[in-house]
Symmetry: C2
Subunit: 232 residues, 2 copies
């Protein structure tokens, strides 16, 4: 058993509770397999959803942007947010329109934002971000200038409440519909890596370096990211 | 020139305006290439972001769920929402941490929700959803039962305000960093279709039918969906 997040009014699944999970292993597995999160927040009573790359340290999620962007300025003061991550794994074509569906894994995580203040804390957070995508890469990059660290706004959000939802399996038709003469089945969907493209002004070996070793052509992106997360 | 959405305080890009677009062709092209949207809404002052399959008719977006789900119940009464769609197209590994980036296409669309009320309007909307994914399929399915249409809640949201953001290209390092001895480049990312899996209780030919013709193994999902959208 791993630790679990609380089941609250916000995260309890009212319908199909068998698709809901609150344990850290499931929640973190879905988060760590993704590059992008969709961050929801409220400005003047109105919802905003911004897609952004993110990373995780324990129960805390991080993302960054220009320190002068409106999102970072507002979130830096402390805002309630909902961070949602989803993976589309397939399309389900059933015998009735009613049972058409998708295969997916998703997490909704709720908490409040805080600004990462010091240059040292920002450097540490940004290094963790780079290393999450490319293990060991932060150590070989041109070091940060202070002005760069000052220009970056890093937001931290400790998860207070989270739930995962997973729809796997295949076609789930009504019993009497299996005799209906129409094709039904699943279209699997996956997100994969293409052939890595070296920059054309390199002064080093253009071959894919060690920190990108897992980005082999046709590798599944979620597999690469989960393997990277296990290194950390 | 196509029609454009207004540039408002919500959707005007304050930084890097060259990455922002407000014309319908760009906005619709990004929307139509995706299955999932992330719908942001506010409950008791707190943001919620729910991933959901969606479809489009002109400037109106649609999604559905159980008529008794909390999201559908609330949105059915009319709520401000932000519908965000994003595609991850690559990872950019630069020579400095500061210039690490991602390639992406995204849209944020703002408006108010309304419930699609009548059975006929729901049937029409759901058929459009099925045909958007599988052209012509709605016509060959087992017809809806009235009880099914009553159990489905369909939400419509006419876009009042939308912007697209696109980051293409490659590595953008500082001029003086090109001499720094570290690898840099782009990891292309794409979402593709796997080999279609027929349900094992079919009473018809298990070969992929005409309405799934574009779901060839290794086809790009965004290409399939855009081609489907052009049929409509």
């Amino acid at each position: 058993m791993t630790e679990s997040f609380p089941r609250t009014a916000k995260t309890r699944l009212r319908r199909r509770p068998n698709r809901g999970f609150h344990d850290e292993a499931t929640v973190f597995g879905i988060l760590d397999a993704a590059v992008l999160a969709h961050v929801g927040y409220v400005i003047d009573g109105e919802p905003h959803v911004t897609p952004t790359a993110f990373w995780r340290d324990g129960r805390t999620l991080f993302w960054h942007g220009s320190a002068r962007s409106r999102m970072i300025e507002l979130q830096g003061k402390g805002l309630a947010v909902c961070v949602t991550v989803s993976h589309l794994d397939g399309l389900v074509a059933a015998r009735s329109g009613f049972h058409h569906s998708a295969l997916y894994r998703s997490v909704m995580a709720f908490g409040r934002t805080a600004l990462v203040e010091s240059r040292e804390a920002k450097r540490h957070a940004m290094d963790a971000f780079v290393n999450r995508l490319y293990p060991g890469r932060a150590q070989v990059l041109r070091p940060y200038h202070d002005a760069e660290l000052d220009a970056i706004g890093v937001i931290a959000m400790t998860i207070e409440d989270a739930s995962a939802k997973i729809r796997g399996g295949g076609v789930e038709d009504d019993a009497e519909d299996y005799a209906f003469p129409v094709w039904a089945g699943v279209v699997p969907i996956r997100t994969v890596v293409g052939a890595v493209e070296p920059d054309d002004r390199l002064v080093v070996d253009p071959a894919r370096p060690k920190d990108l070793a897992r980005y082999a052509e046709n590798a599944r992106l979620d597999d690469v990211l989960l393997a990277n997360a296990k290194d950390g």
